[in-house]
Symmetry: C2
Subunit: 195 residues, 2 copies
DNA sequence: AGTTTAATGGCACGTCATGTCATCACAGTG
DNA sequence: CACTGTGATGACATGACGTGCCATTAAACT
């Protein structure tokens, strides 16, 4: 019996996903996941810091991807235009080709408050990496913060619309639509002059 | 020995806050909190769903306050102007008079990832109640979502600036400043026309 | 073949959180 | 004053989560 089955982490992920879908997240125990993957509980916690994290494995790549993209963009591109032009392509490359998987995951996450909290945390991590990218480009912190928030809001909203849509809609289209809606709101923000 | 000390919940809150500041959140156990409050562990979990929640007690009032404010505002006021005009006063009444307490709490929250996650969850709850308020006013869901996000982003940023500031700065001033910064960015969003 | 490295197994342990039942304080009633 | 009902608390058992520690084994390296 081979002890080191290739891809223990993958095994655990698949086992966990299957069990979560079958019997729910809260009703699934870590020993159950480990047993289905042919491993032990202790090994599970070596690959994932906690039971929730197994649903977010691979998301470490997202901040890295953000850093690369922002470093590649010419320094003279200002923050808002950078987001407006890069967010669509970025979303498409990172999430565009796995709508089904993201749908299954979202279905599970929506059933558990702890998982929703973790998802918010992941978005906050993404936001932080965007802020960091802007600061490294010389943007002041307040602007970096607000533009990163803008990016995360638009991305989240577009992802929700995309996952909720039925036809073969491209994610970049959803991003464009949300950006258009945001543009309309932005004009109202301007008109309302402050005292 | 009186068994029903008045205000068991308050006792637990104060004991928890003190212990968290003394030895940290993770290093404090629920039995310790209960013991200092003169109660048992089981009683702690009757008043708070989990160990983190003790730091967020009283925040249930915030969504209620949002509902009231949005219901009182005349129906003809459009979403964006509503936020622009009401957010400052709202923040002032809800948070304005307890900067010190919020500072202590923030100091604790910043040390623990689980607490940060819970704080994000609370902001998401606030966001949801704003969305609900807009939908009840007849706003379409996408607009309601985006404007609620705008409100939460501005509020969070302003709160951060306010808690970080040294002098006797009013929270409404911080909100106004963040709104001004956002207005500048909004103009850039408009200029950048989509394809 | 021997050595080193890294992943895993196995066990103990503390904490968190919940279900269950007994117990006690207090209010109301006669 | 005695009786009763309601609600908060105490006390105990239980299960799951997550971590520290060390032995074990596979695979790579020499």
């Amino acid at each position: 019996m081979a002890r080191w089955q290739a891809g223990a982490q993958d095994q655990l992920e698949q086992a966990a996903l299957a069990l979560f879908l079958e019997q729910g997240f809260a009703e699934t125990t870590v020993p159950q996941i480990a047993a289905r993957a042919g491993l032990t509980t202790r090994t599970f916690f070596r690959h994932f810091t906690d039971k929730r994290e197994v649903l977010f494995a691979g998301d470490e790549a997202v901040p890295t991807s953000v850093q690369q993209l922002m470093a590649q963009t010419p320094p003279e591109v200002r923050p808002v235009p950078l987001i407006l032009t890069q967010l669509g392509p970025f979303a498409e490359t990172v999430f565009g080709d796995r709508r089904d998987m993201l749908r299954r995951r979202h279905q599970i996450i929506s059933t558990d408050q702890g998982l929703r909290e973790r998802e918010l945390q992941k978005m906050a991590t993404l936001r932080a990496s965007i802020v960091d990218g802007f600061v490294q480009r010389g943007t002041d912190k307040l602007t970096a913060s607000l533009v990163a928030d803008l990016a995360v809001v638009v991305l989240s909203t577009a992802l929700a619309q995309w996952l909720d849509s039925v036809g073969p809609m491209p994610l970049s289209t959803a991003v464009a639509e949300v950006l258009a809606a945001f543009r309309r709101l932005a004009s109202e923000v301007e008109l309302q002059a402050g005292p």
